[in-house]
Subunit: 548 residues, 2 copies
């Protein structure tokens, strides 16, 4: 036996106890005074620590990130930051000042140019770019945090947290840290005697600090119906008729965007006229989109499980608790980890969009000079090879008579053939290929791989890619709906006729849709005010969406 017997097996616990001991001159309880937070972080965080800083595309631990940027780089430096989203300026200031050195992240939308520049200038070391759930998974494997800085709505004196509608990934970040002798620090909007409900038990939380103002929260999933175009309505009609009805889609996820907002607003009108209510689109995994209100009010929606909340939807959700997941207090309980799991494994269909698609159907939202990351789309926008249960829509994708054949998830891309500014969406080669070279990434940052895409919808028609029996046929089907883009110009009208006859391509007329019917008059709500009316005044849109 060659065991090394002298080592301590609680070095993490000892380090934690020592840090907490150091804090005794600042607080003797779990509560850190608001004005002492910078000093407290200097005691609780050590150079080289792995620090999870909560911040995704919705809620941000903005008080704690601001405080972290104010610590002395002489005391706290070379941190390895783990962030779902790099979205606030101070997230990158940390690296400028030397407080932080390395970053693992999922999404960097608003800071994507600056991060690319800093990487080029050697001002930060990049770990990996993940989807949300990959990053959460690594928190339990090889990115176990030393410290977690998270945001909650309320706390009590025992450290129990109420995260309310924006529970999001807070429980997952806290669990990874708390159960490995890391230090959990939560900023809260207020300290109360009794919480509406407990979302995270106090025994998982080391310190609570009342923030100087509520955490930042963006209304990211609100789309004003005024901006929905006739083309988007045409596409939405094609999706409802040519995909949802055709494959009897029961459960689904919609990404952010006007394309999917149009679909949501057409269910109570066009969908109703097709007699589809109660037959399709019953179970949803998505945030509480205001544009889903008319479908909910019309009785289309049986259930919605949410990644996060949405600003202004709090009262509406609480009043529709048969549909949403809510606590006994009545407010939404979201959970990004579980919703991503459900969105991956438990729904029939994912709809997304993209800035570029190549001839084989690979797509990416990454464009030159930007390191935007992935968020959650790749997780939900692929055919999960671990799935074993079937559903009607899933089986409908089965085209082989191999005895081991199986179904697949419907992964739909809805795009117009040209972006604003007349840039073609369908391109010979994705910008992602160059970004890989420029940023020295190990692989090209593809959002959705062509082999996973079952349908592409443009203003020209639908390509039913799951039916293609060869790469050649797949390329032809994509070319047939790619308009006058470089890829579309390759299309052969005779071959397209054959593809239409064989059901690999459908134009609007093949689906019984007249282009002239695709007008804004079909929208169940034409503006935010009408969404508020549908909600019986329960939806309270943020000021910037109010025009009345």
């Amino acid at each position: 036996m060659q065991a090394i017997k002298q080592r301590s097996w609680k070095t993490r616990l000892e380090a934690k106890e020592k840090r907490i001991e150091n804090l005794k001159n600042i607080t003797s309880s779990r509560i850190i005074p608001t004005d002492k937070i910078v000093e407290a972080l200097e005691q609780l965080i050590m150079p080289g620590d792995r620090v999870v800083l909560e911040g995704n595309n919705q809620k941000q631990a903005s008080f704690l990130s601001t405080a972290l940027a104010m610590v002395s780089p002489q005391k706290v430096h070379d941190l390895h930051m783990i962030m779902s989203s790099i979205s606030r300026p101070e997230h990158l200031d940390l690296f400028e000042s030397g407080i932080a050195k390395k970053v693992d992240f999922s999404y960097a939308g608003p800071q994507s140019l600056r991060i690319a520049q800093m990487l080029e200038d050697g001002k930060l070391t990049m770990g990996e770019i993940h989807t949300y759930v990959e990053l959460y998974g690594r928190l339990f494997v090889d990115l176990i945090p030393s410290v977690a800085l998270v945001a909650a709505d309320k706390a009590d004196a025992s450290g129990n947290l109420y995260t309310g509608p924006n529970t999001e990934e807070t429980p997952t970040l806290v669990e990874a840290t708390a159960f490995r002798d890391g230090i959990v620090i939560a900023q809260v909007n207020e300290l109360v005697d009794e919480l509406p409900r407990v979302d995270i038990p106090g025994s998982w939380v080391d310190f609570v600090v009342v923030a100087d103002k509520p955490y930042q929260l963006e209304p990211l999933f609100t789309r004003d119906p005024r901006h929905i175009s006739d083309i988007q309505i045409l596409q939405a009609m094609m999706v409802i008729r040519g995909i949802y009805e055709k494959h009897q889609v029961q459960s689904l996820n919609h990404g952010i965007g006007y394309n999917t907002a149009a679909i949501e607003l057409l269910l109570p009108t066009y969908g109703e006229s097709l007699g589809l209510k109660g037959k399709i689109c019953k179970h949803w995994t998505l945030n509480p989109h205001p544009t889903l209100i008319p479908a909910i009010e019309s009785g289309w929606v049986e259930s919605v499980h949410c990644f996060g909340g949405e600003v202004g939807m709090e009262k509406y959700v609480a009043a529709r608790r048969d549909v949403f997941f809510t606590g006994h207090d009545g407010s939404l309980r979201s959970n990004r980890t579980l919703c991503q799991l459900a969105g991956q494994y438990a729904v029939d269909l994912f709809v997304g969009s993209s800035l570029q698609i190549d001839g084989a159907g690979n797509s990416s939202t990454v464009t030159s000079g930007r390191l935007a990351g992935f968020g959650g789309a790749p997780n939900m926008g692929h055919d999960p090879g671990g799935r074993r249960h079937s559903s009607q829509a899933w089986l409908d994708m089965m085209t082989s008579d191999d005895p081991l054949a199986r179904g697949r998830k419907l992964v739909v891309q809805v795009v117009e053939t040209f972006q604003n500014g007349n840039k073609p969406v369908f391109v010979e080669s994705l910008d992602a290929v160059n970004v890989k070279k420029d940023a020295a990434l190990a692989t090209a940052p593809v959002m959705i791989y062509g082999e996973d895409v079952t349908h592409i919808v443009t203003e020209e028609g639908i390509a039913y890619l799951y039916k293609a029996s060869s790469m050649e046929e797949r390329r032809q089907a994509i070319a047939a709906i790619a308009g006058v883009t470089p890829i579309g110009l390759e299309h052969n009208p005779k071959k397209t006729d054959k593809l239409r006859r064989e059901g690999l391509v459908a134009l609007p007329e093949d689906l019984g849709i007249r282009r002239t019917d695709a007008t804004r008059s079909l929208l169940a709500a034409k503006n935010v005010e009408e969404l508020v009316e549908w909600s019986e005044g329960l939806y309270e849109p943020p000021a910037k969406f109010r025009s009345w």
Copy 2:
């Protein structure tokens, strides 16, 4: 606007309140008296309800399942049961008596013959067979529970639960139910004034009942080293040398079995002699296998995240908290959902085994007449198409120079060419194909698809399937290591030589391994008593594993 305005939007809450009101004559608190549980279930569960009954391959809500089987089928009938595992006789008695009608499940190992028979006899209706995480996902989409019957170690009077080392999927089952106005009933081993820690907040739990005896818990992951054969040691040497060292595997999951136990017990001996300590196998997602003790004591293991606990490992885990996820009370915190997520997305490699593998590498543990289900293997044993971050081992699987090429997860099957009883493992066609027909399943119950398998290891050698450039080459590589099975007999010695030269096949001698060195003397522990010694007496094996 066509909204239907008259409906109530809290029908689920109203139904819940009415049921709880009905219970007033049994209890006025959260605590249901032990001897009133059958009567209480008759009040709380309604005909046709969707009921989640906790029971996986480890812990079982055995008191509640026994009680449910005792309710009056006149009062409670036609339930739709959702069970991770169908493993106790009363789980199927429910269907014999008419209390339950339909079942969705993941695993039915011990009851797999009876369930197949009952299905044939029309005594139960089958929903779908899932992996664990698919079933959890559906709890938030289209299998939202009305009632959850779960098991915990301890509760306090407020309903807070301590699940201790066997937290497993309890939080996930409770979250799906509690936040959709379902009723959560937890059996506990004891009621205490103060919990060691809170694993599930009391505001998520409606009722607690003290069970007449502790919940059933099986030591499923304990393998006595006495039963490890020289052939398994040879295979373990090949895995360490030809896969772990070759690809620099840092993070991994081991399934249950003597094959993987042999690998674990060879790390401190054979692995050490190769100078691999600190270079491979640092991060693990697996239950606290007793056979991992010598590797932990020798300093090989940086972290272990667990699906569940393991009987007898409680004190050892608590004393090694630098390695395991533990609460501030010192005991293990497992989480099946998060560990499956990590095992899917965050590790380099999965090792499993199988009863049958066909010529293309598809495998299944399903054999005729049995509906065993899947458990978790397909989730971890596939190449997750949603993964976007890279690791060295993952990139090592990249064989294409396509600009969009990516790496893949290492999925390894370790099998002997023949099972006990002289049945060949390598077969022309999987029994799963016939089971599909016999049980009228929508797809054949394949455990791991050939396209996902990167390596197969037998006593003959290793097939490096990720290098195969065609199905033909894949079949040849498998045939080369399939011994004298029907598949192996197809192999062509000249082609095998070519495959060896090109690195698609390696025999032990190609890896510098002498078959005569593969003996039990290499095991770091040769029996359970030696595991106890390695653990400094902290591991307390169940009586059936004690021979001293």
